[in-house]
Symmetry: D2
Subunit: 339 residues, 4 copies
């Protein structure tokens, strides 16, 4: 941590800062420049609360040096982490892990049709929403537990793993009982009670980046999971909010290699939500793999025009088969493989 | 709803759109332009799911005409709504409603000192956090139920109402038992399970705008509360995420008059979180009142440099007294009053 | 400047950084922490190009300590600057300086009507566009020199000063001949050739913040003007691009007190462009004054529905008279006056 | 264009809208819904100024249906356009067009070294800045005409084409004399005088997207070039401003396939500026090609740590050779080729 004093800060102001540093059990390192005095803080700055120094008189600015998410950092765990899933899928391994299925489980027929279509293309992880966070209270809110049971049953019949979203701490045990991977959605990335609960659920978690959250905050959210005992965490870039309105969100493709630098947790992208338009899903999926992503979350519906949610961004089976061909070729070009 | 067909859409594409409209029990209104055919949809478009038409061949774009949040709209409830609170405060009335106190309840002493300081300036609603959503898992997470009891006890002794944050559905009954107003924080604006729960808790709610959420989405989140039976909802603009880094967030001051147009729910601003720096709190508080806000949420700490959270943006008692002087003058200038 | 070394940086990496510091005539200050070594740079860091250290092996991050815009900083010029204009207006003084008139000069009649309407409300500075930067090549592009002459003539007849936009370096002499204040628009804030030219034109400049530019970049753009000899520079916050679409732009109200801290240059706001809707102009004008702005830029048209540009955000004379009443009251509430 | 009337709009309000439509030589199409009346406008809406209807009483909202940039649209020119350059490069063809070289021309030696390094990897277009738009007035501003002459001489000696930035209308003839392609930088995307001038310069133009500009605005800026007679225009996505600070800008990868849908102009990306960090350039270059981009703009410096600008994001010759290997493999995976 570096504390920058104001141009007009007094010696008393400086003394108060040094006192405060001492009271935290840390050591100061004072550097007097021509226009500003700066104070470096020797020791682990992570436990120091934001605002500790900013509120002192004469302090202009405080800059953190160490990333606050220690367990999630590559410094702490240099080797790439791999999450093994039932059915043989591996998240973070050499092979690209594609997780595909409908946005929402609507019925046994719809889910089976979607699942068979993705399974036929080599997909080993079935995605589908049973508990749906919807912007409008009047939208379809999901089948709940019944949807979970359908996911489990149909995935088992096809030898697939299940990933599904959990939206509230109370549901974590139920979802962890039926699913192989818990998904934490973008709107819940900073739902810390949910993170604490999912952190101790004993199942892998795919954590989506909040639509208004930085890469740093995503890593700190992952830190909640890791600090509560869950080692099997993957991160998902799914588009952020920007001024551009041609697409639903803006996929932050830069975040893929940035995350691979900062952390050894697997990184996947969600080209369906980040674009909002089916014709854009394949190009963005290819881009994500080319940038180094370890996997994809893709929405597939047997008949997108009849979907109860996210029809505009869902691929039909033919579109998905074509996307998988693309993914295979791009994966090979970057030294990876794909089912 | 207006459906814009692609330039090259066929008559079959158009027929499929008209069929779909009919199957929803609505009537179409076709308008053939020189370059595009557009189809208006007569009837209540609100129950139509997003994506219903976008996924049909030949459809270029779909534009909604009606705001999806009906109960929250001023069309539905034209007169300004006023929320009466114990202790005589009114949210949405002629008098500006200032809610002030520490970011987090740290101890009985700290809370009492802060509460007395704000009470001495006429404040009738004590704010303070017992359950704290914190970006880092290593930060102080709040005193929980003990904090709630302190808030209640100290507020009662000063004849004040209590507003405090609730972060998970399970805690709603407990918080509703001790507090007069439930606060839903920015990170939980789209935590729909929490909204449903708070919607039926029987206590007024102050709903903060998500840091990556639009005004429309804020109104739809309020709609969850209203649709679950809660009529006493106020909205809070607390700053959004933008590229500007000089401040912690960017207060969207435009949102104040925009919300006053779109809805009759009371609107307050939070100048503490939206700036992140104590010296900016008073100017932004004045700006919010001048723009038409009905109230303020302000962080006050007896000694900001010792605060366990948000010290950089907390006012000390002297700073708060000065802010209240400012607020009184600006309130009078716009035909309002302030304690 | 503080240089943060990577966790795994070698002694050779550090030596290369120290060498480089020496070659720039500056002195290093090394501070070895437990997890990172950081190097402070003693001396004036401003001439050091971005990237000088980032490209060296072992460097993780570089943090600048001094604001790069020295002449524009309040450190350099602590007292508030005031710009005196012909006709008695003062920009940055105790009195709020309102600059009002049509978006574009369309005809002598239209301009005269608008000018008389604003003059009748005490306005001493007439705004109007002769050279119009328009998003579409098919939109009205302004009357050019003819518009300048009309501005001058009508302003003179009403004893007003003229502010008008200049869009290209070649036009600076012409505009400076006829106008009292040059306006540099948001789209040209980083048009550095224009800034250099306006910097030596001998007339005051109102510099608008770019819609995707930070406060820091605005100050650096002002630095171009100051470094080229122009001391009479005012800054204008006119709304930035964010994800919110309810308004045309998002006025960054926080920027008003932030700029007043960082610089002694006068600060004005443009509530017309930052909202894009006439009914929002008065509330935002009030907010700007309440936050500490020194002036306003307001679009007024005798008949907004007939305007050749920006009709949706232009006030008619009655709306403007009402806004001026508001401004007077809010100005008084914050210890300022207004015509 | 669709005009949405307010819920409470009167028949007189509607009549005034219809009158106005008639006065513009267009025909209305009225559709009375249960809650709102909407009016469609039959005919070419493009010449209608923004604000024409918004300023009329009773109008709630106006939605444009046709894209305002007609000449740039794929509707108008369905087949992909290809720009032939001297030296055999083709922008928009089957082969990926890589344009590489130093950010700024610093000296004959530096430029020759960089040019030889990129030429050795098959690059046929040399980039390099002679006129540099710099954020700080104290930064290196480029060699100007001398830089242009060096670019021409060294490119000729290696049988390469030259692309270089032009920053002000006055310089267009000079730059067009020496360069094969004019680059318009992000900060000048909305410098309409420059666009008009470059539109009639008789040389191809690569137009970069403004950092706060939408895809729509980029197309309208291209429309300026096309409307002034220049058919040889390529678009460049170079990163937009978002709240994320881990990278200098956020490359909007979605914009690549979006632009390919909306326009037949070639689309390139600039992974150097959009990331700001050399280690991120290759992954993002791969992503851009995978998403369908037709080319790349890459900064290469013989010794990035000595660069006078953009050292942090410049590749050294070895890094560039490795990037070209990547590009070749990914290009092949998406059915393209690369030198």
């Amino acid at each position: 941590m570096v504390i920058v004093m104001q141009a007009g800060a007094s010696e008393e102001d400086l003394a108060a800062v040094l006192d405060r540093i001492g009271s935290l059990g840390l050591a100061p390192h004072v550097s007097r420049g021509e226009e500003r005095t700066i104070v470096g803080l020797i020791g682990d700055e992570r436990p120091v609360e934001d605002g500790t120094f900013e509120a002192l008189p004469g302090v202009e600015r405080v800059v953190r040096i160490l990333h606050p998410a220690k367990l999630a950092s590559r410094d702490f765990h240099p080797e790439d982490r791999v999450i093994e899933l039932p059915g043989g899928a591996r998240l973070g391994g050499q092979e690209i892990c594609v997780m595909a299925g409908p946005c929402a489980v609507e019925s046994a027929e719809q889910l089976r049709e979607a699942a068979e279509a993705v399974r036929a293309n080599g997909v080993k992880v079935l995605r589908g929403g049973a508990f749906k966070p919807r912007t409008s209270p009047y939208s379809f809110q999901g089948l709940g537990e019944k949807g979970l049971l359908l996911l489990r049953e149909i995935a088992d019949s096809l030898d697939m793993a299940v990933i599904t979203e959990v939206v509230t701490p109370q549901d974590v045990p139920l979802v962890a009982e039926h699913a192989d991977v818990l998904q934490i959605g973008a709107r819940n990335m900073a739902n810390y009670e949910l993170l604490k609960s999912a952190g101790s659920a004993g199942k892998p978690v795919v954590l989506k980046r909040g639509l208004g959250s930085t890469v740093d905050e995503l890593l700190q959210a992952a830190e909640y999971l890791l600090a509560h005992g869950n080692e099997h965490v993957a991160l998902c870039e799914r588009g952020i909010r920007t001024f551009e309105t041609a697409t639903r969100f803006t996929l932050d493709i830069n975040a893929v290699p940035v995350l691979k630098q900062l952390t050894s947790l697997p990184v996947v992208i969600d080209p369906s939500h980040s674009t909002g338009h089916a014709p854009l899903v394949a190009p963005i999926a290819r881009a994500g793999i080319a940038a180094g992503a370890d996997g994809l979350l893709i929405e597939v519906h047997p008949n997108p025009a009849e979907a109860l949610s996210d029809g505009a961004q869902s691929l039909d089976p033919a579109g998905f088969a074509s996307l998988m061909d693309d993914v295979r070729r791009v994966a090979a070009a970057v030294g990876r493989s794909s089912a």
